[in-house]
Amino acid sequence: MIGANGAGKSTLLRTLAGLHQPAAGSIHFAGREITHLPTHARVALGIALVPEGRRLFPSLTLEENLLVGARRSSAWTVSRVMELFPWMGARRRQLTLNLSGGEQQGVAIGRALMAGPRVLLLDELSLGLAPAAVRRIYDLLPSLLAEGMAILLVEQDVTQALRVSDLAHCLLEGRITLSGRPRDLSPEQVEAAYFGLAARA
């Protein structure tokens, strides 16, 4: 899901996660209507959000941050998350405040994974991260997809997003202006949809 600032990408994700109520319409997940389900119940169904700005718990250690996300039914455990992020092992008792932005993003993803999601909602993964850290995080996505979960990625960084996704939607002022597989979309098409040029012409 790509789109300019204020296109409504984060709002869409937050609505899917249950943090906002939709003004109209309904949300269905795995054949079930979940429009009025509270956030935590959606997590139990398998919808996990990695929020913009990571939103870790500052007074909890790294491991505790992961454990808050844990569910009994989930196949993910702290040790499995730590296999994915090997650096975590040595720093499990540290407060997340002292971690770098990329590391914090890793913890946020790990916390969402602990719930054993069927769909992972990733909001602005690259925001505020160094390019190297962005690359490391994005290199992770294929292995998550290989686990069988779906990922809905919201990203302002179009190149990065198109590189990893199977299906791209461009959002403009709350409406989808362009959809398609990234390889079928020309840069001009994307640019027009992104900035709303087509509408103006």
Partner: protein
């Protein structure tokens, strides 16, 4: 020797204040709610304790087994049905709602129990004491209350740091929305925190009833003492709360030693002095 006695009694009294304060501290730490009806709920617990003790003919200690769980349920319901709704409006509303709750409780107790003061019959506990020297003795009851305060604080601390629910409480205190994203039922967690806080309020109320006589208006001052203990000790630290309670208790006992009418005022003055010199309290903790 009289001064030493005052210090010892003050420390023990501090245990009672700490017991009062940890519920307040917990609710504020988790939900940012200062429950202005805190003291009134404690007085209500004392009245319930009185009903249990006289109705079932059980000693004071056993009455806690009935009153504390009942209060946990009351706390959960008050949180889910009253405070939660106000939290979703604004912090000002919450303050006003708990203030209104305080007024309602006081008047309801006035109607129900009259303005006469009561005290809880604490039986052998009230009379018994350890006589250390001819001038210095420690009452059984005040020692039990102090021990109860320490036990409550230690177990709260352990619960918050070790238990899954305790971790969820801390996470929710940090960032309620993020906690809900991580699958925590925030309202339920708030309710649990309130239930725990109210159970400690019940203990504090019963201890207070055993210590001294109470009447429907007694809650106001309890709230203020609890609040002072929290601020003196440092917001967000349970051990700080115990220390704050002890400092307050000792200040009051020493003040009363100077002049019998000076005790409570001395406590207030120490509180204001701490506020002026160390506004974050003696043991400022990270927010629980």
């Amino acid at each position: 020797m009289a001064w030493l006695n005052a210090v010892v009694q003050g420390i023990l009294l501090g245990g009672l204040y700490a017991l009062f304060a940890c519920g307040l501290s917990l609710l504020f730490g988790v939900m940012r709610v200062v429950n202005l009806a805190h003291g009134d709920f404690a007085v209500l617990a004392a009245y319930l304790g009185l009903a249990v003790i006289t109705g079932l003919h059980v000693p004071l200690l056993w009455s806690t087994l009935a009153v504390a769980p009942l209060f946990a349920v009351v706390g959960y319901l008050v949180q889910r049905l009253i405070i939660q709704r106000s939290l979703e409006v604004s912090p000002l509303t919450t303050l006003l709602v708990t203030f209104g709750l305080s007024v309602v409780l006081q008047n309801a107790m006035l109607e129900g129990f009259s303005a006469n003061s009561h005290s809880l019959p604490s039986g052998w506990l009230a009379a018994g004491s350890f006589r250390l020297t001819p001038q210095l003795s420690i009452g059984h009851f005040s020692l039990i209350v102090f021990a109860a305060a320490v036990v409550v604080i230690v177990s709260l601390q352990l619960f918050l740091s070790r238990a899954r629910l305790g971790r969820q409480i801390r996470a929710t205190a940090d960032d309620a929305e993020a906690a809900s994203i991580a699958g925590t039922d925030v309202r339920h967690v708030f309710g649990i925190a309130a239930a725990i806080a109210f159970a400690t309020v019940a203990l504090a109320g019963l201890a207070f009833g055993g210590y001294s006589s109470f009447d429907p208006g007694a809650g106001t001052q309890r709230l203020i003492f609890a609040f002072e203990a929290v601020v003196i000790g440092g917001v967000g630290s349970l051990w700080g709360t115990l220390l704050g309670g002890v400092v307050l208790g000792v200040s009051q006992a020493l003040g009363a030693q100077v002049d019998s009418g000076f005790g409570v005022l001395a406590g207030h003055l120490v509180f204001l002095a701490v506020l002026a010199i160390r506004p974050r309290g003696l043991l400022p903790g990270r927010v629980t």
